[in-house]
Symmetry: C2
Subunit: 348 residues, 2 copies
């Protein structure tokens, strides 16, 4: 077992000082060519690599960014991570993940665990519970310590930091308008309770689209699900509620759902009730998921470009980290990623 070699060991072995070794390995002009050659050869032979931890301590910079997300088994979030990791790697950073599991306390603990020197900055999408409690002290505390944060997707306007969001409002509005163009007269909405920021915005997009096209807004066409539970867990409840919705509003000919699973459930229920998609009922979802692509019929969705969000968030964070020396007036930007409507078979 050849444990990693250190400068000190090389120095001892070659009978020079640690400083000399360090300089030689950096090709410093201070060191004679002879000595450099000798040291570099030795270092190569023993596969010397500087210890990251020591470097981090010395430089007060870990070159690691932390990403805190509510859930990883989720197409959207894993795509964001992929984007973050991609950019981080390109720019010489590592990525450390923390899962809040939609819990406020786990989010706080995770952040505190990482904020003590392990990372240089955060990329975070806050948990539903945090959104509900509206307690953001962990975020402000972190920012106050001089550690930059980039929020994405689920952001909160009170917090001053860089943000990457999707144009939820417009994406939803466009989707609903598409349904209207396609001839839908009675469009249902399946959404979450209002405390989920993105759900709220998408709902607003639905409302605006209807009103702009002079369609009356009927509250019994709007199904607001309690999103505290995990999707999968309340699938049965979801389906029965949708069944109820369809049965009591037979004229429904279009559905806009704020996420993939809601849309899929709508299609499933429709099939059960003998409605064919898209002939009798057109459905549009909101997501970046695989389910939409492989569903039958393929689900038309508003694509969020999750990976792009991750990439952008990583760039913003690293830019901030690397400009930090220049103590200019802090300026935060909010980048809006535009959505696309991916048309598949669930719309005409």
């Amino acid at each position: 077992m050849n444990r990693k070699i250190t400068l000190k060991q090389i120095a001892k072995e070659l009978d020079v000082s640690i400083s000399t070794v360090s300089k030689a390995l950096k090709d410093s002009p201070e060191i004679s060519d002879d000595t450099k050659q000798k040291i570099q050869a030795f270092a190569k032979l023993y596969n010397y690599k500087p210890n990251n931890i020591a470097l981090s301590l010395k430089n007060r910079k870990t070159n690691t960014i932390g990403i805190i997300i509510p859930e990883i088994v989720h197409h959207f979030f894993s795509k964001v991570i992929r984007g973050v990791e991609l950019v981080a790697n390109q720019r010489g950073y590592n990525v450390i993940i923390g899962l809040s599991n939609e819990s406020f306390s786990k989010e706080v603990i995770n952040m505190e665990m990482l904020a003590n020197g392990s990372i240089d900055g955060f990329i975070i999408s806050i948990s539903k519970e945090t959104q509900q409690l509206q307690d953001y002290h962990h975020l402000t505390a972190t920012i106050n310590q001089g550690m930059p944060i980039v929020m994405f997707d689920r952001v909160v306007s009170e917090i001053e930091c860089d943000k990457v969001i999707v144009n939820d409002f417009n994406g939803a509005k466009n989707a609903v308008e598409k349904l209207i163009e396609n001839g839908c007269k009675s469009i249902a909405l399946i959404t979450t309770k209002d405390y989920v920021s993105v759900g709220k915005l998408r709902t607003q997009g639905y409302i605006d689209a209807l009103s702009e096209h002079n369609l009356t807004l009927e509250s019994n066409l709007m199904l607001k699900m309690d999103d505290t539970l995990d999707y999968e867990e309340h699938l049965d409840l979801l389906e029965s509620e949708i069944t109820q919705l369809f049965k009591s509003n037979q004229k429904i000919d279009g559905v806009f759902a704020v996420n993939e699973l809601y849309a899929l459930s709508a299609m499933k229920v429709a099939r059960k009730l003998g409605l064919s998609v898209p002939e009798d009922l057109q459905v549009i979802g909101f997501t970046d998921g695989v389910l939409s692509k492989h569903a039958t019929p393929g689900l038309t969705t508003v694509s969020q470009h999750a990976q792009q969000m991750g990439e952008k968030a990583a760039h913003l964070l690293i830019d901030k980290l690397e400009s930090e020396n220049t103590d200019q007036e802090e300026e935060y930007q909010t980048v809006v990623i535009t959505t696309d409507l991916v048309e598949r078979e669930s719309t005409k």
Copy 2:
């Protein structure tokens, strides 16, 4: 901006030595109660938390584990990560991720980047390219440095380390036997080329099941896809090959696919060809994914218990890390996670 406070600053502020502060915060009996109270109060006020990097350097232990996977936008791998993160957090560890993106060189670079002190040990599932090249020097080098590795899913027998695998052979065999029990007489296999270890094992399970039940093995019923490309990318090719398979073997009444997408494609093609599932054709896939659950009809699959694999891998690694002091003879174990057949609507 209140930058994090250090022991040194507290010491200076309270006019005591650094050692005294450190001891006081650890409630050492060496320090008088008066002094302790004073220091602890001050530390609490300024929210002192020890710097992780400094601790890591001092203890030569980072309490961080690295996980290297080929891809994160993948239900199986993200579930594994969830399992790893869960256990790691419980046991006081952080998780840092590296994506190889199925590339050998990215896998090597990622590992080298982390092996220089950033982490205490690895959990890894190697890339397809690594499997093809059969070049494992980065793994052996890491192990030689005294850094423990736990391999999961895609393991290689030549490397001596702890492993967590799924019983691919048995899982596949059981699946095929299920098809046989259900009356299938002509069962097709959709698999990958043999260098993918798990694909090979699952193929073997298929072969064994057939032979044990006296069904003749027909090579033209076995479709071996080139798995170098990303699934999504060669979807068209996949579908045309499957179409070919079905057209030239009209007697096929069962399909066993070694992953989710292959199985779904089989169902899709079947539908196009006017075959109804499960009446004319029964299909079983292999995976832990969401697609199977939400497909129509629901896909019967061999479940891999990905999260459990992640949990087990994390436990194995941390156990090894925390017993490392006792320099007993190295003993490695291979944990086999048993698969379950999840029956849905694609089988009778």
